[in-house]
């Protein structure tokens, strides 16, 4: 059985966090450049150009692209033929987050107790860790530091089976319009349809954070739904930072899951334009 030490995991998390908050991923930059080419409103074009300029300045200066360096969400796909030695996965992940956030001057944004607003944990731990067991002996870690402004605009609706796809599209567009500039559009939207209450929310987060920006779903029917939602959201005119424009969302990622005959949960995870994600495989 292959052994993976907690030290390897900690080192990988440390490096992934540092990179994710400073260097925006290539898929996101390509989506932003595409949006700038298509955008017709001058002020919206100015804002998109500033976002792209900021991405360059961040790398040159070694500063985070955004001061909200987020709560670290870590998706761990753990190979069943591997064995983690020297501690628990959560401890290893948190040690990496702690090192990155304290040594690289990143903002700690985690409260130990949600009702004690002055109790910052100081090193941005704990991370939110989602584990799946997968075939093989490798450990894949995707790090997605998530900002508060966008996460606050996310939603979960327990709809009834009478609800059709058109109503889902309409509901999402209305929700994004009401959120306006608060979640820092242009957005990446993760949408999950089906599953149950908790599965639906997690699937929406995975859709927003772990898929390459703008990569279409492999099923053609789902791809069409993604395009419909994207068109409806962009037709709201909210635009970059809510100040109007054609570009309210860069991409919509939809995932489906089997669900109860009585249910139709729909979750919307709202991701700001700093759609940071970094994957490492051990």
């Amino acid at each position: 059985m292959r052994e993976i030490s907690v030290r390897q995991i900690t080192d990988a998390m440390d490096a992934a966090c540092r990179e994710a908050v400073v260097q925006l991923p290539g898929d996101l930059l390509a989506a932003l450049r595409g949006a700038l080419e298509r955008e017709t409103k001058p002020q919206a074009r100015d804002i998109l150009a500033l976002i792209l300029q900021n991405a360059e300045v961040a790398v040159q200066e070694g500063l985070p692209t955004c001061q909200d360096t987020g709560v670290v969400v870590a998706f761990a796909d753990v190979g069943m033929d591997g064995h983690i030695t020297g501690g628990t996965l959560q401890e290893a992940v948190d040690a990496g987050v702690s090192r990155a956030y304290t040594e690289a001057f990143l903002r700690p944004s985690v409260l130990r107790d949600p009702l004690d607003r002055a109790g910052n944990s100081g090193d941005n731990t704990p991370a939110v860790l989602h584990v799946r067991l997968v075939p093989g002996d490798r450990l894949s870690l995707t790090v997605a530091p998530k900002g508060g402004g966008a996460e606050n605009m996310s939603a979960l609706w327990m709809l009834t089976p009478a609800t059709g796809p058109a109503e889902i599209v309409e509901r999402i567009a209305a929700h994004v319009a009401a959120a306006g500039g608060r979640p820092c559009p242009p957005l990446v939207l993760g949408v999950a349809i089906g599953g149950n209450f908790e599965q639906c929310a997690l699937l929406a987060k995975r859709a927003a954070a772990a898929r390459r920006v703008g990569q279409p779903h492999p099923d053609g029917d789902v791809t069409r739904l993604e395009r419909e939602i994207l068109a409806a959201v962009n037709a709201t005119g909210v635009g970059p930072m809510g100040m109007g424009g054609d570009t309210t969302a860069l991409a919509v990622h939809v995932e489906l899951a089997p669900c109860h005959i009585a249910s139709l949960p729909v979750a919307l995870n709202v991701q700001c334009h700093a759609a940071r994600h970094k994957t490492v495989v051990l």
Partner: protein
């Protein structure tokens, strides 16, 4: 939707704090602003404390008259820099506190996203303005921060009240003192 600035060409305002009423009244929604001088950072936890101090009649750790509050919790300053990444946070979370601070003379706030009707009414009543900076570009905006020091509520860490010295910090007049707004138009 009240938008007295509609039809007028946007006008650049290069201003230095503290701001007097005439400076603010000349600003119209959609106008670009380059903000220089001293501003204070404060966000959720600091606002709760400021308002608690006002309500208990205690003295505030900062003078509000003519001043500007920037809704910002920066990343820690790396060695040799005044500040880390320093962009705006979502302003609407501070909506419940803003009218009371404007009543005490606060002339402007800087943040991102829409404001409540209560805040927009307060801007009109007290001759104040809400400026929007672009969110998510904190590395770029940090280039306009010349100096920073914690002046109050240091225990709040990233949420502490800081005094920043700005030089031509770029923003847009989002909600003006005449009822105009760049949102929802």
């Amino acid at each position: 939707m009240g938008e007295p600035g509609a039809g007028r060409q946007p006008r650049l305002h290069a201003v230095r704090t503290p701001l007097d009423e005439a400076t603010v009244l000349a600003m119209r929604a959609g106008d670009p602003v380059l903000l220089s001088g001293r501003v204070y950072t404060a966000r959720d936890a600091a606002h709760r404390r400021l308002v608690a101090l006002i309500e208990s009649g205690a003295e505030l750790p900062l003078e509000l008259a003519g001043q500007v509050i920037y809704y910002c919790g920066p990343t820690p300053a790396p060695p040799g820099r005044p500040i880390g990444s320093a962009g705006p946070t979502t302003s609407s979370r501070m909506d419940p506190y803003a009218p009371l601070l404007h009543a005490r003379g606060l002339r402007a706030t800087v943040g991102k996203g829409e404001r409540s009707q209560e805040v927009r009414d307060a801007l009109r009543q007290y001759g104040a303005v809400y400026l929007a900076a672009v969110g998510g570009i904190g590395a770029l905006l940090a280039q306009s921060v010349r100096a920073a020091r914690v002046v109050a509520e240091a225990d709040l860490g990233p949420e502490a009240i800081r005094e920043l010295e700005l030089e031509e910090f770029p923003a847009i007049v989002a909600c003006d003192a005449h009822g105009g707004s760049v949102f929802g138009r």
